[in-house]
């Protein structure tokens, strides 16, 4: 970093003198011109031409990038720096600043747990007591040592704050420190604790120095974890600068690591794409599918699609006319043509949904009775529903900023129109749609949803989306079925003890929900990763929607 500093200082000094005399010259020229400007229009034309010339020459010398830094262009800024409660885009910087006790590698089938800050772990037969052996050679960015004490502090603080994803620790009953580097958790119920500990939200280990940091500094830039990079500078809505943490316990000798990570906020997707094209960024996030087409044949930009645990589906409101009628719901379910979706709308950047949960999530098993696209069948269902179609109004609320949702809505509207069903589209931003869907009187009949797990287990879908809730948060189809509730609890508890039966139960759950036709599955999203071709070391791990810069290197 020092080299960059000195070069900049020199560059600055002479630049200021350069600009001042430039300013004078320009002013002087302006003065002569205005005097006889009125008489001679010709001279003005000459001056303005000269100005344009200077302007174009000046713009060709683009700003060369400071080397050996990995630049990520993202679409929005971080909202909350407290690792306990951060629950959205913060994953990107935090996954490079903090580390969990265990990593979950979902890239291979079935997923397995890799040691993180815990070298090994064991669980009791009844799945209630878990013992972790921790590494003894790790220290936080602020210098404090990492030990069992720190882990206990993190879990207890998360439980107390009860913000963001900290509800995942709710099953923890008691924490016992056996020795400085060994810790035992006793749970109130046999939940798969290894999955919780390796979650991408709320499971980062951070230094206890967070307690003496004031509340608002948490709001404007704080970070002290054990990860490879530490927070150097954050300018709100502009960029985050992470630099190498020299005393990182894994060391820096495995190949040509990046010295710093820059996460830049560029809200417009086409500009993010342009930055990669012109070498100003190495990695871009959330690029709409349509724009990717322009980079198909560009050698120095690689676009690859990773399987992810995000799926998109449409919840049907089971309490509001006309979707309270099961046959009407089945008619809608069989009017969604998933093949056209994948082929024309998502243009092969997504797989056809096989069930209610993503097909490549562990413990997934395909349900047997998913409704196929068949308009005649749909017409048959409509007759059975015995609903007078002329004056019924079905409203469909979807997120207006996604092109894929809009085109799907168009397709659904066209198919239903052929059946005589009038669909009333209500595009809006997610927060407005979601708020309306929660209250029954303002809820739409159909609402677009995308979901990804906090903890890498299918139960996340069933708990959040289909579990009975009096005033629903995400159960936007206002569905309640005691059988589904009990089966979900059962499967969740069996996951770590008896994964086989858990898989069976999850399949049975999907079949029940399909029979009740509460949801119309659409696609499982493949996340496009757009990056410079000369960087390798990318590994596809759907459990973490981020990029681990430590593993990357420039070839």
């Amino acid at each position: 970093m020092e080299k960059i500093e000195s070069r900049k200082k020199w560059y600055l000094e002479n630049k200021r003198t350069q600009s001042i005399c430039g300013g004078y010259a320009f002013g002087f020229l302006q003065l002569i011109l205005t005097q006889n400007m009125i008489k001679k229009i010709r001279r003005v034309k000459a001056a303005s031409f000269a100005l344009c010339l200077v302007f174009f020459i000046g713009s060709c010398s683009d700003q060369a990038r400071v080397d050996n830094s990995f630049v990520i262009a993202t679409y929005d800024d971080v909202k909350d720096w407290d690792p306990a409660t951060a629950f959205s885009l913060e994953v990107l910087p935090m996954s490079n600043m903090y580390e969990p006790l265990l990593w979950y590698d979902a890239g291979t089938k079935p997923g397995k747990f890799l040691p993180g800050l815990a070298t090994s772990y064991s669980k009791s037969s009844d799945g209630l007591t878990w013992k972790f052996n921790l590494r003894n050679d790790v220290s936080f960015h602020d210098g404090t040592k990492f030990n069992a004490e720190a882990v206990k502090f993190v879990v207890e603080r998360n439980k107390k704050l009860n913000g963001g994803a900290s509800y995942i620790w709710s099953a923890v009953d008691q924490i016992v420190i056996n020795s400085p580097y060994q810790i035992t958790f006793t749970l109130s119920s046999p939940v798969p604790f290894d999955k919780i500990v390796s979650s991408q939200y709320g499971a980062w280990m951070y230094s206890s120095s967070i307690s003496d940091v004031s509340k608002d500094s948490l709001l404007n830039g704080y970070g002290s974890g054990t990860g490879p990079y530490r927070l150097k500078k954050w300018v709100r809505n502009k960029y985050i600068l992470l630099e190498k943490f020299d005393k990182y316990w894994r060391g820096w000798n495995k190949g040509d690591h990046f010295k710093s990570v820059i996460i830049k906020v560029v809200s417009e997707s086409s500009t993010r794409l342009q930055m990669i094209d012109r070498g100003l960024a190495d990695y871009a996030i959330l690029i709409p599918v349509q724009l990717l087409k322009t980079f198909e044949n560009n050698p120095d930009v690689t676009v690859s699609y990773f399987h992810s645990w995000t799926n998109e589906f449409y919840l049907l409101n089971t309490k509001k006319h006309p979707t309270d009628n099961i046959w009407f719901r089945r008619a809608i379910a069989s009017s969604l043509d998933r093949k056209t979706l994948v082929k024309h709308i998502y243009k092969d950047t997504a797989d056809e949904a096989k069930g209610l949960i993503p097909q490549n999530i562990p413990l997934f098993q395909e349900p047997d009775s998913l409704l196929k696209f068949d308009l005649d069948m749909a017409r048959h269902y409509l007759e059975k529903s015995k609903i007078n179609l002329t004056n019924t109004k079905t409203d469909f609320s979807f997120v207006s900023t996604y092109e894929e949702y809009r085109l799907t809505a168009f397709m659904l509207l066209d198919n239903l129109r052929k059946l005589g069903v009038a669909l009333d589209l209500k595009p809006g931003l997610w927060s407005t749609n979601w708020d309306k869907a929660k209250k029954l009187e303002t809820a739409p009949n159909i609402i677009s949803m995308a979901w990804w797990p906090t903890v890498s287990s299918p139960s996340d879908w069933f708990f959040a989306l289909y579990h009975t809730q009096e005033n629903p948060l995400f159960n936007l189809s206002h569905y309640s079925n005691t059988v589904v509730d009990s089966l979900t609890q059962k499967a969740w508890k069996l996951e770590s003890i008896d994964p086989g039966t858990a898989r069976e139960i999850y399949k049975e759950l999907q079949d029940i929900l399909i029979d009740d036709c509460v949801v119309v599955p659409a696609v499982d999203i493949k996340i496009p990763s757009v990056r410079k071709s000369n960087i390798d070391g990318f590994k596809n791990n759907p459990a973490y929607s981020t990029v681990f810069v430590y593993d990357l290197s420039k070839n």
Partner: protein, 337 residues
């Protein structure tokens, strides 16, 4: 003169009051519950309750209105629900970017519009005059957002000369130390010698400024033309002509003052039009200004932000008109009484 100044001021405050109350109540009808915006993506129920509590949305409306008025006097516009920053902070750093864009567009609009209006007034009913009036018509009926997209299409899509959107290229802003920080990117970078940032900023501002100024060009053209024609038909023109003065001389020596009055109305009018235009142009060009901020706030029914930005817009609008009235009074002695 002083009394005129005072009751104009009182009028201004009165209008600001009316505007703020009207916005306050319209905003209450906006769909969507503001609290959900505040809490973020996956909150739990009690988090929602806590947020509603400290944001004060559970109090009856008139109480909220009273506290709202009290806050306005202390310029505390509350916290934006979407970005969780104080609205005042959000507005201040966005105001400079919008103001810079509007001033730049004003410059272009007047550099092109004023001379053309002048020439078309001097050479009445020639081909040139018809061409300019035609341009005026097109200018008046241009949909600003469509024009922006067409310019993007030409200059970014086909010619690749200018960037598509944004206020400065991704990277260049990172390592520059701006010695001169007035919020105006172009001026700061110019005086602190950041040539690449300056040219980059210039390249980024060209398209949005061109869109905005073409939108207003029609108005500038027509008003300058009619202003010049009116001044030339003033009776005192005939007197000066009878003393051997030519058109140009009369305007330069005496009639320039008369043209200033209608021209200042054009400035006020086009400023207002441009403020309206920022809504659309800023969302097309992703310009981090007030227009984009207000559109987003309205879509997400972010109450404090909407009220704040509306007040700021109206304040600027009213102050501009106020300054123009004062300018009238200074130029035209007849208005004194």
């Amino acid at each position: 003169m002083f009394r005129y100044f005072i009751n104009r001021l009182v009028l201004m405050v009165l209008i600001m009051l009316i505007v703020s109350s009207v916005t306050f109540f319209i905003v209450r009808w906006l769909p969507g519950d503001p609290v959900s915006l505040w809490v973020g993506d996956h909150p739990t129920k009690d988090q929602l309750e806590v947020a509603r509590e400290n944001l004060g949305f559970n109090k009856p409306v008139y109480k909220q209105y009273l506290s709202f008025l009290k806050n306005i006097c202390t310029l505390d516009l509350g916290i934006s629900l979407r970005t969780r920053q104080p609205v005042m902070l959000e507005l201040s750093n966005r105001f400079s970017s919008t103001f810079e864009l509007v001033l730049f567009s004003m410059l272009i609009a007047f550099l092109i519009g004023f001379p053309m209006g002048l020439i078309s007034a001097l050479k009445i009913n020639t081909l040139y005059d018809y061409f300019i009036r035609g341009l005026g018509y097109i200018g008046l009926s241009l949909p600003v957002f469509w024009l922006g997209m067409i310019l993007q299409l030409i200059f970014f899509g086909v010619l690749h000369w200018l960037p598509l959107q944004g206020r400065y290229a991704g990277f260049s802003f990172l390592d520059t130390q701006l010695t001169f920080n007035s919020g105006f990117l172009l001026i700061d970078s110019f005086f602190s010698g950041e040539w690449s940032l300056f040219f980059d900023g210039l390249k980024h501002i060209i398209l949005p400024a061109l869109t905005m100024s073409l939108g207003v060009l029609g108005v500038v053209l027509r008003t300058t033309r009619s202003a010049m024609m009116d001044t030339m038909n003033e009776p005192f023109f005939k007197t000066y002509r009878s003393y051997g003065f030519k058109h140009g001389e009369i305007i330069r020596k005496s009639a320039y003052k008369n043209t200033l009055v209608p021209v200042s109305t054009v400035i006020g009018l086009s400023f207002g039009l441009m403020l309206g235009g920022t809504f659309l142009v800023e969302s097309i060009f992703d310009w981090p200004g007030l227009g984009q901020f207000s559109v987003l706030s309205i879509l997400t029914s972010d109450f404090p932000a909407i009220i704040g930005v509306t007040l700021l817009y109206t304040a600027t609008y009213v102050i501009i008109n106020f300054l123009i009235d004062i300018f009238y009074a200074l130029v035209d002695p007849r208005i004194h009484q």
